[in-house]
């Protein structure tokens, strides 16, 4: 911005850019922001790109969705289809379905935009999910970022809601069936279920209101919330400055990386176009949601083997895993535990996800800010908990394809369901156990390497006739990457000021023991010195 601040006395010679930036700055004072942010460091790591993938695919969703709104009509009024797609000519369907067919078959490039929208939406949700896992496994949710974790979590929920409402708009057989399932689930909720469904659908299912209502949510309310939350979320990334992995010169108190202008802008901006290009390529080559094959919604035809969009799968899977008979009439009312249990289980699961940063902070009692990302192995218990959670989710998700699993591998439906029930209940424990062992083993391996160097693969014979493998010592930079982490020890129970040991203390201590009893500390200077002496 130096051009804008140093005023030239001979205006005739000034470049257009200089003049323009001066003009703008005189009216906006934007120079302050550019000076402050333009050279900000942005730590680099491939896994930090996942959030950007989410952001960039959301931009595609916004732009392509806006294009669709110019043609899509969210009405459930019945018409006889009269567009170009011959097999459906004359078929009775809603205006919503007919206009979606028109987008696909009668508007040049319409199918392309529609497929961009759907593929980008799928990528958007996937990227958010992976981004969340990255943040979890590197401990990037620790102070001061706990609240931003919550914002990110809400975005994940909103993204799924956007996806579900969008999926329901074309009013085709699959989307109607999806709504039917939602209707059935809502009706199963005690006390408020029946009326909630009745009000949501504007009368009996399916009614003529739901597509219009979901449309308002899909293009107004939810996008507004998503955009606002993205702004806050990314704003906080700036305020907190991005975490970085440990490395030479990187301190908890600094932030090291290419400056925003120009390198980060070039790479991230370029990356944005790459993501867009990939979405465009997929949309050009692969059909998604071919509603013309499904036909309009009708409560009666069968649709075996069809699946919801991937991110809804876990909920559908949870419904399938309930054993027969979980419904009772009690106090003259129906208690549908076959619906309540999946709902509550998923509720607890996502509740734990959003609460995790606060739980871990409480156990550790660590009130410092943390800006160095953990390597997952250096937080074995957290990593193992994460693996358990992923296994639970994956089990539910696989259950959504139980029929495909059964037919594909010629298994019985019962066998598949029972195996998946076991996976969802026992699987997380196994995953926890294995992951924790693997993390501890990797930590030990790191200690080995720091103490004795890399195995060089070169064997030499000592004068005494003994064979040894030559170990390549680490340089101080490599070593720093392996030793610069913090470890925690289990909490000692101590009486408080009034000489009492509170229940909270006890619980915290037992959690703390669970988390940290298998602690492996980083190699210290003294250890390295004595280790070297002892070995060679």
């Amino acid at each position: 911005m130096s051009t804008a601040t140093t005023r030239s006395t001979t205006p005739a010679k000034r470049s257009f850019t200089a003049g323009a930036s001066e003009y703008i700055n005189d009216r906006t004072g934007i120079a302050v922001a550019i000076k402050g942010l333009g050279r900000k460091a942005f730590p680099d790591h491939w896994s930090f790109l996942l959030g950007e993938v989410a952001l960039f695919s959301f931009i595609v969703v916004l732009i392509s969705g806006t294009f669709l709104t110019f043609f899509f009509q969210a009405s459930m009024a019945e018409v006889h289809y009269d567009g170009s797609y011959v097999p459906l000519k004359g078929v009775e369907m809603s205006v919503a379905m007919a206009s979606t067919l028109d987008i696909s078959f009668d508007i040049r490039g319409g199918l392309f935009v529609r497929q961009m929208h759907h593929w980008a939406a799928l990528l958007f949700v996937a990227a958010i999910g992976l981004h969340m896992l990255r943040v979890f496994f590197t401990g990037a949710f620790r102070k001061p970022r706990e609240i931003n974790w919550v914002f990110g979590f809400i975005l994940f929920i909103l993204a799924m809601a956007e996806g579900f409402t969008g999926y329901s708009l074309p009013d085709d057989l699959l989307s109607g069936n999806g709504l039917r399932i939602i209707d059935g689930m809502i009706k199963g909720i005690p006390l408020i279920g029946t009326w909630t469904s009745f009000l949501l659908f504007g009368g009996e299912f399916p009614g003529t209101a739901i597509v219009g209502r979901l449309y308002t949510l899909h293009i107004l309310l939810l996008p507004a919330l998503v955009v606002a939350l993205i702004a806050v979320h990314v704003g906080y990334v700036f305020i907190h400055k991005h975490t970085q992995f440990a490395g030479p010169g990187r301190e908890p108190t600094n932030s090291v990386g290419p400056p925003i202008l120009p390198i980060y802008a070039a790479k991230a901006g370029g990356f944005m176009f790459l993501i867009w290009g990939v979405i465009s390529l997929i949309a050009a080559l692969f059909t998604i949601n071919p509603i013309w094959n499904y036909g309009p919604y009708d409560p009666s035809p069968v649709s075996a083997g069809t699946q919801p969009d991937w991110y809804i799968g876990f909920a559908d899977g949870a419904l399938r895993l309930i054993p027969p008979g979980w419904e009772f009439v009690w106090l003259d009312r129906t208690w549908s535990f076959n619906i309540l249990v999946p709902l509550v289980a998923i509720g607890i699961f996502i509740g734990l996800v959003v609460a995790y940063p606060f739980i871990e902070a409480w156990i550790k009692g660590d009130k410092r800010e943390h800006h160095i990302a953990d390597r997952p192995r250096n937080a074995p218990t957290r990593t193992a908990i994460g693996a358990a959670g992923v296994t639970f989710y994956a089990g539910l998700w696989a259950a959504a394809a139980s029929d495909l699993l059964a037919t594909h591998f010629s298994l019985t439906m019962e066998g598949v369901i029972h195996a998946l029930q076991a996976t969802v209940i026992v699987g997380p424990f196994i995953a926890y156990f294995i992951t924790k062992r693997v993390c501890l083993a990797l930590q030990k391996k790191d200690r080995e390497i720091v103490l004795h160097g890399y195995e060089s693969g070169r064997i030499v014979k000592l004068p005494g006739g003994e064979f040894i493998e030559v170990h390549q010592p680490l340089d101080e930079y490599e070593r720093w990457r392996l030793v610069s982490y913090e470890s925690y020890q289990p909490l000692m129970i101590r009486p408080n000021a009034r000489g009492k040991i509170t229940l909270g203390q006890r619980v915290r201590a037992s959690f703390s023991r669970w988390f940290f009893e298998d602690r492996i500390a980083p190699v210290s200077k003294g250890e390295l010195e004595s280790g070297h002496d002892g070995h060679h």
């Binding site: 469904s197 299912f205 301190e251 619906i339 909490l491």
Partner: protein, 358 residues
């Protein structure tokens, strides 16, 4: 904020000691080792090939602008494809080509810019890293005190904590004012309807003929051979002016004929079937999908949504899956002309369970 690696080393190191103090806070159960390694500082900067070899630099430059030109080509291609591949009426193949060629052009346009910019950033832009110093998010002690003081003063001047009656009445008013908005939600569904009543009845009534779905043609008992299954709707459904789908979502029925010896009918329902012909609601008692995969030799019905299975021979009892209740049975008979008719409506609500059901 230092721009350069090397000068940054000292700066960061010098700064960090005071910054560490700034960041002080309880370490909780963290172990702070006494003889931990010290940060060795930044690694010496390694130049890239493009920094050292002018020929490589030239080549990188060529690559970048070629990619940008390719992008322009892609945009032109996409526009040309829009015109060259019109959607001729009634031709699905044309739609495919239109989609693919516009899409590939756009892809080239986007990827060209993307690869070009990334390559530029990686090979040609000066590669020094920036170093920012972090400051505690909470701000300085003075700032925090200042904020506290603002609140204290505002409280003092307004008397918010002193004038408790005013405060409490305001809180009450604020809690109450959104309530009318909640009431408005009743208008989301027709004012004169009650869901439980609607859910308890379907279009079936005494004498309604069973008709084929979707044609609406009535079915003669004689046409239902053993082992066959029909998708059924009430006669007259397709002529409804309003609420066709709503009625269909409750009234859809499956009609099957078994060998009468294979039907295990309870005495009170023995008269609900006709010569081995039985009619059951098609709407799953789990969450409402159409149950319509009929396995003729086992007499099992399978719901495609969550795989609940119902045994037609035993009044559609659940034999597997998350559904609890059997599919409701529609009592049927035959009229004078030999058509199948309903004896009455279903005797219980069909479809998914709901709270008020008992």
């Amino acid at each position: 904020m230092a721009q350069d690696d090397h000068s940054g080393t000292e700066l960061a190191a010098a700064d960090s000691s005071h910054a560490v103090q700034e960041f002080a806070g309880s370490t909780g159960t963290a172990v702070i080792p006494h003889d931990a390694f010290e940060n060795p500082g930044f690694e010496p900067h390694r130049p890239r090939v493009t920094d050292e070899d002018p020929r490589r630099e030239k080549r990188a430059q060529r690559t970048v602008y070629t990619l940008f030109y390719l992008s322009i080509l892609g945009s032109v291609w996409a526009i040309a494809a829009y015109m060259l591949f019109p959607i001729e009426s009634n031709d699905v193949g044309a739609v495919r080509l239109n989609n693919m060629f516009i899409g590939l052009g756009a892809t080239l346009a986007l990827l060209g810019i993307g690869f070009g910019a990334v390559h530029w950033g990686k090979t040609l832009m000066t590669s020094a890293e920036s170093i920012d110093i972090r400051h505690p998010i909470s701000g300085s002690e003075a700032t925090q005190q200042g904020a506290v003081e603002v609140f204290r003063q505002a409280d003092e001047e307004s008397g918010f904590s002193r004038r408790t009656v005013i405060r409490n009445s305001l809180i009450g008013a604020l809690l109450a004012f959104p309530l009318p908005a909640v009431v408005l939600f009743r208008g989301f569904a027709p004012q004169d309807q009650i869901p439980v009543e609607l859910l308890s009845h379907t279009m079936w009534a005494k004498g309604t003929r069973l008709a084929l779905d979707p044609s609406g043609v009535p079915i003669r008992a004689a046409d239902v051979t053993i082992g066959s299954a029909f998708h059924v709707i009430p006669e007259g459904l397709i002529d409804l002016e309003h609420g066709k789908l709503e009625e269909k979502a409750k009234a859809a029925v499956l009609l099957m004929r078994l060998d009468p010896s294979e039907l295990n009918e309870t005495p009170d329902r023995a008269s609900w079937s006709y010569d081995g012909i039985v009619a059951y609601s098609k709407i799953c008692t789990h969450v409402g999908c159409p149950v319509a995969l009929y396995e003729q030799h086992t007499h099992h019905l399978l719901c495609p949504c969550h795989q609940s299975q119902f045994d037609v021979a035993n009044h559609c009892e659940v034999i597997f899956g998350p559904a609890k209740r059997p599919l409701p049975q529609l009592p049927i008979a035959v009229d004078d002309e030999g058509y199948l008719i309903a004896q009455s409506d279903f005797t219980e609500p069909v479809g998914p369970s709901f709270w008020e059901r008992h």
